[in-house]
């Protein structure tokens, strides 16, 4: 009664892994041998050598091979004729070895298990045995075959579920990043921390005795350089903003002297008591 069911599931056994999906469809060639589609499974062990290799390589392991044999020979998974199954299994192992297919140790281990079960079945069963002794030696094998069979079918079912990207597409509409380009923000605190980091690294604090006033001199130095950016001589007096108050005038004067000291500007006076002119050194070098 199991035979019909087994038969209907056979084809996927012989398919290369990547074609499992197609294997489910009727009339899709199981394989191509010399360009000819192979539509039906070989009925017995006589299989064209190329196809055989294909068949043998696609077994997922000894359990898979055993299930195949059970179905192929209409054996009952719950009442396995061990002698017959072991004979079939061993003949496959021989063929695999003959074709120098890589035989995983798992296959040989299973062969040992089969022979062991077979031999235990030959022993007369004790009439009144304990539960353990009385258990069918095939029980464990049956349990494993059924469990594997179930997962094999589950794998097929999973693969049949519609899958994102394969059987349906996910909607994803663009959000343009250009809509708002975010620039990093910097705070005074960031600058303070950056400086702190510098100090910690270089121990600059040992050498720099920078006073608050000096920062305004520095700022004024940059300001003067900006004023001179045209490259033309600018009258000395024009660099001073008379209305900004005495402290600022002093700072400006110190800034001009510092700039001259650092060779950033050139100061010229063509005649005694004549007008003093200032220009950037860059203008000088450009000449």
């Amino acid at each position: 009664m199991c035979a019909r069911r087994w038969e209907s599931v056979i084809p996927d056994h012989v398919m290369p892994d990547h074609e499992i999906m197609e294997a489910q469809l009727p009339l899709v060639p199981l394989a191509r041998i010399h360009g000819e589609p192979l539509l039906v499974l070989p009925r017995d062990l006589y299989i064209p050598p190329d196809a055989l290799e294909l068949v043998l390589e696609t077994f997922q392991g000894p359990l898979d091979l055993l299930l195949y044999l059970i179905r192929k020979h209409n054996l009952d998974v719950l009442d396995i004729p061990m002698a017959e199954l072991t004979r079939q299994y061993m003949s496959y192992i021989e063929i695999m070895q003959k074709h120098r297919l890589e035989l995983a140790a798992d296959y040989l281990l299973m062969a040992a298990v089969l022979i062991e079960i077979k031999s235990r079945m030959l022993l007369p069963r004790a009439a009144k045995a304990s539960d353990e002794d009385g258990e069918d030696p095939r029980a464990e094998l049956m349990r494993r075959l059924l469990e594997y069979e179930q997962m094999k079918l589950a794998a097929q079912k999973l693969n049949e579920l519609p899958q994102a990207g394969r059987d349906f597409e996910i909607v994803q509409v663009l959000i343009e990043n250009t809509v708002s380009v975010r620039l990093p923000e910097v705070s005074v605190e960031d600058l303070r921390l950056a400086w702190l980091g510098l100090l910690a690294r270089t121990r600059l604090n040992m050498h720099h005795k920078v006073r608050r006033e000096q920062l305004s001199v520095r700022e004024q130095m940059a300001h003067i350089l900006r004023c001179l950016q045209g490259g033309e001589f600018v009258e000395f007096g024009k660099l001073f903003d008379v209305e900004s108050g005495l402290p600022k005038l002093v700072v400006t004067f110190i800034a001009i002297l510092d700039l001259a000291k650092e060779y950033l500007i050139e100061i010229q006076q063509s005649e005694t008591l004549g007008n003093i002119y200032v220009r950037t050194s860059r203008a000088l070098t450009a000449e």
Partner: protein, 211 residues
């Protein structure tokens, strides 16, 4: 100085009830239409499914679970008869093209995600139905060694993850499936996978007959 875009009040984006509309037609109920459009835009642009908790963040006023769900149900209806539908999956809600659209969409994008070998699929099935399992458990069921590559393939796809170790010698890692797997299969929960009873019904029958 910053290029930040000020959030426009929703009323400026979407048609709002007219000013001269009698107030009582609005009643106490919030006008949720602008929010519905915002939720729609969020779901259309999201790269992952959005949960109701996330969707709540889109509202300027606090809304409860039920109100968001009502809007999602309305959206589902709005999209009926279109090529795209709003669906609920494990991680929340998302829009997807209906599977019937696939043959057409395939014409534009012939690239397909990888098809997995039987070894990978069987490993996935064992993890899905027996989780959490160790590599040893999987090998026991399949009857063969499971290569590290197979598990890596499933992990890389985001379908399987390590959820812990078993407290036995060697502390083997325990594998389980992810919500991502359910999302990719458009499912809400593991229970929506084909049931083992369904798959195993015939096998059990066998056992019953044999006994």
């Amino acid at each position: 100085m910053s290029a930040q875009v000020e959030p426009l009040p929703p009323s400026e984006i979407i048609i709002f009830p007219m000013r001269d509309e009698p107030l009582d037609t609005l009643g106490d109920a919030l006008d949720t239409q602008p929010l519905k459009r915002i939720i729609e835009a969020a779901l259309l642009t999201a790269s992952e499914p959005l949960s109701i908790a996330e969707l709540k963040k889109l509202s300027d006023v606090p809304l409860d679970h039920r109100q968001i769900e009502t809007l999602l149900e309305e959206l589902t209806v709005d999209w009926q008869g279109r090529g795209v539908e709003l669906t609920r999956v494990a991680n929340g809600w998302r829009f997807r093209a209906r599977p019937e659209m696939q043959p057409y969409l395939d014409r534009l994008n012939p690239q397909k995600p990888p098809r997995y070998s039987r070894a990978v699929l069987e490993t996935l099935a064992i993890i899905a139905y027996h989780q959490p399992v160790t590599r040893g458990d999987i090998e026991e069921i399949r009857g063969v060694a499971v290569s590290a590559q197979i598990l890596k393939t499933l992990e890389a796809r985001g379908w399987v993850e390590i959820v812990g170790t078993r407290d036995t010698p060697g502390k083997p890692e325990l594998f389980a499936t992810t919500k991502q797997l359910l999302d990719d299969l458009n499912l809400r929960a593991l229970q929506e996978l084909p049931s083992l009873q369904e798959i195993g019904a015939l096998l059990e029958q066998d056992i019953a007959v044999a006994e």
